[in-house]
Symmetry: C2
Subunit: 723 residues, 2 copies
Amino acid sequence: MNSVSRRLLFALLAMTAAQVRAEDGYELWLRYHAIANESLREHYQQAATEIAAPSTLALAQSELSRGLSGLLGRPEPITIQSTRNGSIVLGTPRSSPLITQLDLSLPKAGNEGYVIRSLTHEGHRITVIAANSDAGVLYGVFHFLRLIQTQQPIDALDIHEAPRIQHRILNHWDNLDRSVERGYAGQSIFDWQKLPDYLDPRYTDYARACASLGINGTVPTNVNPSPIGLTAPYLRKYAALANVFRPYGLRVYLTARFSAPIEMGGLKTADPLDPAVRAWWKAKVDEIYALIPDFGGFLVKANSEGQPGPQDYHRTHADGANMLADVIAPHGGIILWRAFVYSKDEPQDRAKQAYSEFAPLDGQFRDNVVLQVKNGPIDFQPREPFHPLFGAMPHTPLVLEVQITKEYLGFATHLVYLAPLFEETLRSDTYARGKGSTVARVIDGSLFGYHTTGMAGVSNIGADRNWTGSQFDQANWYAFGRMAWNPLSSSRQIAQDWVKMTFTNEPAFVEPVVDMMMGSREAAVNYMTPMGLHHQMARTTHYGPGPWVSGGSRADWTSTYYNRADAWGIGFDRTASGSNAVEQYAKPIAAELASTKSTPEQLLLWFHHLPWDYRTKSGRTLWDELVIHYSAGVQTVSGMRRTWAGLQSYVDPQRFNEISAFLTIQEKEAQWWRDASIAYFQSLSKRPLPAGYAPPGHDLKYYESLCFPYAPGHAPLPDAKCE
Amino acid sequence: MNSVSRRLLFALLAMTAAQVRAEDGYELWLRYHAIANESLREHYQQAATEIAAPSTLALAQSELSRGLSGLLGRPEPITIQSTRNGSIVLGTPRSSPLITQLDLSLPKAGNEGYVIRSLTHEGHRITVIAANSDAGVLYGVFHFLRLIQTQQPIDALDIHEAPRIQHRILNHWDNLDRSVERGYAGQSIFDWQKLPDYLDPRYTDYARACASLGINGTVPTNVNPSPIGLTAPYLRKYAALANVFRPYGLRVYLTARFSAPIEMGGLKTADPLDPAVRAWWKAKVDEIYALIPDFGGFLVKANSEGQPGPQDYHRTHADGANMLADVIAPHGGIILWRAFVYSKDEPQDRAKQAYSEFAPLDGQFRDNVVLQVKNGPIDFQPREPFHPLFGAMPHTPLVLEVQITKEYLGFATHLVYLAPLFEETLRSDTYARGKGSTVARVIDGSLFGYHTTGMAGVSNIGADRNWTGSQFDQANWYAFGRMAWNPLSSSRQIAQDWVKMTFTNEPAFVEPVVDMMMGSREAAVNYMTPMGLHHQMARTTHYGPGPWVSGGSRADWTSTYYNRADAWGIGFDRTASGSNAVEQYAKPIAAELASTKSTPEQLLLWFHHLPWDYRTKSGRTLWDELVIHYSAGVQTVSGMRRTWAGLQSYVDPQRFNEISAFLTIQEKEAQWWRDASIAYFQSLSKRPLPAGYAPPGHDLKYYESLCFPYAPGHAPLPDAKCE
């Protein structure tokens, strides 16, 4: 084909691809549309003329072909056996004599890392993507494609990458009826009714997307599991999924209901020290491994929010976890034991409970038990201090659990980029071994020498065509994967990569959009829960503001329990004069938090109960400062909406319109949060708004009367009536 | 562009379209992939060189452009103002002087019909698509495109089409939490949480698909509605949908909960004769019309399955319907009052109840009330006799309600083409005015001179990418639309059109697939409920066989109530010696059904209780005949699976694989139905299987023990435990 026809071909390919189907976000960041810059495309074409790989790496090879044929406008993938200029050589030492022969420092890459190097071999300029495992090669391929998607140089590569975290796991809170607890992207992608007989091609696309980020584990079932979920028919369904996921390096884990020996096994007890109970679990584990030889292990939520657990039998969490650990150890599995607990009795301060229960158990867990700890001590609030368990368990590997789905951050319609939240936690200094003892260093094992490391993200994935309910929520899945691979990553760098891969490399688009993303989480903190406020949402649905929520079955499920607002002031006293939760932190932190003056103002009301007239660092009263923060949140969102409106020419119409509509919703709901919160707190503070700040659009009664029983993400309310 | 480049262009377009994205069924039958036969394509190209239409018909024009540019391999749509050879002229007499000037017999087309005619105008060969309304033109455009999709001649067209039914309505049983009662295609396509602010482009595609079939009404809310569904925020959501649907000729109707004046209005009663109740409804109706000026009316399920209704106040169905009719009449709306009722008290024979309650009310309803009657007297079973109300209400317009979703016919995974079922009902002769008084003539108004006519289909549409949960279930949506337009249509002809439009025109594919579809419903009857058996499915979920189901809250929700099987025999005696339901039919039918010998064998056990040794027409015993029917159902499905396996070369891989997997599921489940049914009935008949027929694979206890609490299509079961 001559150069003119090639150019014609390319133009047509580009045109038709756009024309055949509108962009709907299904492709995620794996968007291999031809590079429009012709000279750049030709430059890349020269550096990637063929792909040489043995057939055992067929999958990595096919991903590379798929990516390159899209990006470089080639009509079909190319595979040739011998090297020439521009060859990309994939492989492992086992698969390729050439790779064995080159000095690539592969041992340092470990089991999942990879090396990407430009070099000259027998007079040809080639690129080698090498690893010790096939999965490592696949990760390297996605890295190499990312370089082209983000238009980086690929002529003199010398990349050495290895994950800093071993277990990088998505937690799906997906129920067997395909509802998703706290899911805002439609039904579960897992169609249990049709499994194992029908394998939706989407399962493969899901595994591809996970592999592109290095995510290597998935828990497809809810942490509040059905007892039916471990029956034989369901195990066959998970096994079918595991077969699809395996080539992508993605392992299946399952949630285990602690009382399953009673409900499924007909035993009278689930006491972890009862031999019959242990025997039941051993048989169940053997049954699972017979179907899923690389089964990852169990994720367990025990003695929390009504779930059964070892404490029902006066045993400790360690007793429960160790029993399961013992029966799964021969197969190489692990137990992810969640530290998110709270007892049936109302605690004096729920923020203290996980620490109180688990810190004394440090050192009592088996080697294959890890504790999965949420980023903060309450529950995925827009801002929390880091969880005090980080730093407090030197002898027990701690896995960081973050929430990718936005239960408390505006569901799918608010643009809130979560990587800055993850980053804030990871970079928090626990002072456990002196300055520099960051949460990142706790969970990557370097601080205490953990033998096992992990990071878990509660998935935001559903059956919606765009996967996550909104285009921008894809960035949170993406960022979780990148940060689990390397918890020292920069949230801004990740945003840049994602925007370029998902939309365009045009700087006039990338820069304002990345700025918008980077500011979005602080905006949400401001319009929802500024200055350390937390847990102020509506009851049950968690949709919209509810700072007035009180009463009901337990106080620590209400807003007033946390805001403690009254005529005098606002905030939760967690110093020595209050719950003394500050004492759960290392001394330097505890000392800082004990004083209002040294407490960071963004956490002020988390730790202190202060009068409305308390003077903040700005010199303004606390009341004025709160109003200003709420208002700033709304203003930021208005700015985001305006910024986006100016970017129409860079985006396809469908995604542009969807995002525009969602930003309009977000602006409206940010105003609602601000107005409802101010209306409620003003009813107590009795203070005027600072000059120039508009009063809420309605009176407090109006906000209190709003009721949304059909908001998604929770089980249907009985009768679905508004009170 | 010269001819060679044009050919190159075409080849590339075709290639890339296929390459860019796998076929997943989203395009439905509106699949405008370029015609591969080059001479045919060029022939069509000459007959369609440009589209001339005024801007008021922009939508019809854009649909035609979209279709032609795809089918004829043109890179972009063409629109020019003057006519030349091959011009397609669209319009109405109002819009186009040319159309006024031609003698097209347009008055006969009515408000929604159209004329498509080939003619010579000022020396040019042109095609005119004309109607009295824009919607008529749009319907004509879809008809014209269908001719090309199915590769019919378009050179000498003289088509006059008008719908035989006025109201062609989809009934969505979609809840406000996006679950779909008896839905097997994922969540509701209506994303209430994001409406009215975000308009999913899918709403437009839905309206396009409806318009392509002439469907002109949709009820987006469940017949078991939430009291919250008529509040102002939801009305704004429906209004936003109505704005999307309006240009496609698609009107919105809503379900109304009869007790809404109590739940929403705070009244103490919903008595239809109470002036305050009437005033509440009048205000609500005015509120709706202020938002949706072309609102179609209410669909009401009253005094049925626990729903409130006028009988709660000792009023008749007519009292209830007329009150609503009166308040909606000034706006031009109608009331669709459902005849599917059964009282709180168990009837002696549920099949008789609708007739007993409604037949005496004939003539008592307002002009704008229509009664919506299911095809048969029980509930959408694989086979039922026609409903005795058809023919029994000469003074009350009856709308036929069919179920497109396959609640009792294998959910989304069984290939069961429903048009033969619809056709069987429509061609049933009621004898109400002598021979030839078919159900089709009842509902098209020609038999009794109804002033209003309608046909309603319970939707099978959901958020699944393929819309209906399976590729072949799209054919049921399609067939419903075509038959509602013309109830005299042939189910085979409709299948042929659909297969050609959705897959390919290759005769080697079309013929076996159409045969497979045409035989599929009888197969389901055979493996589920042969020879007039009915209501034999599992309790609650309706998933799988449950002929043993008995006990529970009411007998007429059990299988044994209907099969009446015991050691002596099987079947429901509905003759004079039994419930005498036969008397609800016109004399010639009643006489035929009163005798076992003249009752069609396919309905034998619907009307008669017979001994196991009863001799059927074949000379075999009833028992043997039943076993043979069950087995034949499984054999037919096995044949379907084998047929499909041989057609791989005609179908894209994704759809081929999906259908293959579903046929495998269907074969397995057909076997399960056959085996479980035989195991149960054999436990009573104590008779051996006829020679050569394999016994069930398991014992009866096994089949009785199977439990699927998470089967889709119903509200989650409390605790979701197996009994």
